[in-house]
């Protein structure tokens, strides 16, 4: 039998829904989206009336939230696996430089970074003098 799409049939969607085989739904299913969360309204004659077309997310999109969840989960697993691989199985790629040193006192904060083979890098607040740092005197009372 050839399919027919008769424009005189105003309730093609409802007619299809009345088919018992199509109406069986698992008990307790949580529906996605509600009908009142967007601005389109439908009149009895089937005319599409739009108050103000907006581009908000469509609440009824098929499996929208679920598919995004799995996509993000897969992406996170892939990133974690890639990071783990490089950290544990590729020693040559490990970071060999030391962490910066932090010295914090009431007189100020000093950040000292000494990369191997590179130039030392210091960042210190104005309250700390070179002398204090050289002597290791970081007490504010000195």
């Amino acid at each position: 039998m050839t399919p027919h799409f008769n424009l005189l049939d105003e309730n093609a969607l409802e007619t299809a829904e009345k088919d018992v085989s199509r109406q069986q739904k698992p008990a307790g299913r949580i529906r996605t989206g509600t009908s009142d969360s967007h601005t389109a309204q439908h009149s009895s004659s089937g005319t599409v009336k739009v108050d103000s077309p907006v581009s908000e997310p469509n609440p009824g999109a098929a499996g929208e939230g679920q598919s995004h969840f799995w996509l993000w989960l897969l992406l996170l697993i892939a990133i974690a696996a890639g990071l783990g691989y490089f950290l544990y199985f590729q020693p040559s790629l490990k970071v060999e430089y030391p962490w910066p040193e932090f010295r914090i006192s009431p007189a100020g904060i000093e950040i000292r970074y000494q990369p191997r083979g590179g130039q030392d890098f210091f960042l210190r607040t104005a309250a700390m003098t070179n002398r204090e740092l050289d002597e290791g005197q970081t007490d504010a009372s000195v």
Partner: protein
């Protein structure tokens, strides 16, 4: 049963009857029309109703035996067709509301002028594919009113691309169905009898330009349709053969290809039937394809 289609400047009609489930074409013919709009923007023309009424009356007078049951193929130039996907677990009211929202997004500020019909195509993985057909104003009422005045009954109004597809032999492969008029080309794609999408193009024969107007496909698919059309007009074999063609007038190169290349096939609404045209001479193949819609809509 009488099938009627509007093809360019002609109203094509075919009268069929069934004898022991065997279809018999009582007669086919065409009438010139003048006030039938060529595009969706001109549908508001108040003359459309009187022109349709005149066509119905003229066809009724020619029918033998008399027949009042008409089926009408609507040109895709008057419609918007979209394929939408909706969560099948929604209630019908919510589903319809969602489909209205999707349709309104596609039509933009013109949405309030359109009427929508939705046809479920099938379900898969809790999602349902729905064919949305949108037309301006109350187009069916124009035809129903014209039919009442002409004392005939309109049983159905259907988009042309779907009724002409009824004439194409069933297949599991990919198929293109292409309709030519003097100003437009419509391309529809099917795979294993499943409708994949359609696109309407403006066509300038003199300049050789093909411009995408609208359709149910995304830009990449529209581009692929356009490439197929350009190749077809250059005589290149299609990548996914065969291509089924009909319309009036057919471009000269298409007429030549359809006679020499097996990749291009004219839609043949009569040849595949155990049917006979009772009155008048049977049409040749080039003429026969012009009746693809008028005969296709009468298929049960």
């Amino acid at each position: 049963m009488v099938g009627v289609s509007f093809l360019g400047n002609n109203a094509m009609y075919a009268q069929l009857s069934y004898e022991d489930a065997t279809p018999v074409i009582e007669q086919i013919g065409h009438l010139p029309v003048t006030q039938v709009p060529a595009n969706i923007e001109s549908l508001a023309d108040p003359e459309l109703g009187s022109e349709v009424n005149r066509v119905f009356r003229a066809i009724s007078e020619r029918l033998s035996p008399p027949d009042q049951h008409f089926r009408i193929a609507i040109p895709s130039e008057w419609l918007h067709c979209y394929l939408l996907t909706v969560d099948s677990t929604l209630e019908t009211a919510e589903k319809r509301s969602f489909l209205d929202w999707e349709s309104s997004q596609r039509l933009g500020t013109f949405a309030s002028r359109f009427t929508a019909r939705y046809y479920p195509l099938g379900e898969r993985d809790e999602s349902e594919e729905v064919l949305a057909i949108l037309f301006p104003g109350d187009l069916p009422e124009v035809f129903l009113e014209a039919a009442r005045s002409a004392r005939v009954t309109v049983q159905s109004l259907e988009p042309d691309i779907f009724v002409s597809w009824n004439n194409v032999p069933k297949s599991f492969g990919t198929r293109y169905l292409i309709k030519f008029t003097d100003q437009t080309i419509s391309v529809s794609q099917y795979k294993a009898q499943r409708f994949l999408g359609t696109g309407l193009f403006r066509y300038s024969r003199r300049k050789g330009l093909i411009q995408y107007l609208r359709g149910s496909v995304d830009n990449s698919r529209a581009k692929a349709f356009q490439t197929t059309l350009k190749g077809l007009l250059k005589g290149e074999p299609p990548k996914q053969a065969p291509v089924w063609i009909y319309g009036n007038p057919l471009p000269r190169q298409i007429r030549m290809l359809s006679q020499s290349d097996d990749h291009y096939r004219l839609v043949s609404p009569i040849s595949g039937w155990e049917a006979a045209v009772r009155s008048g001479e049977g049409p040749d193949r080039l003429t026969e394809c012009q009746y693809a819609e008028a005969i296709g809509i009468t298929r049960i």
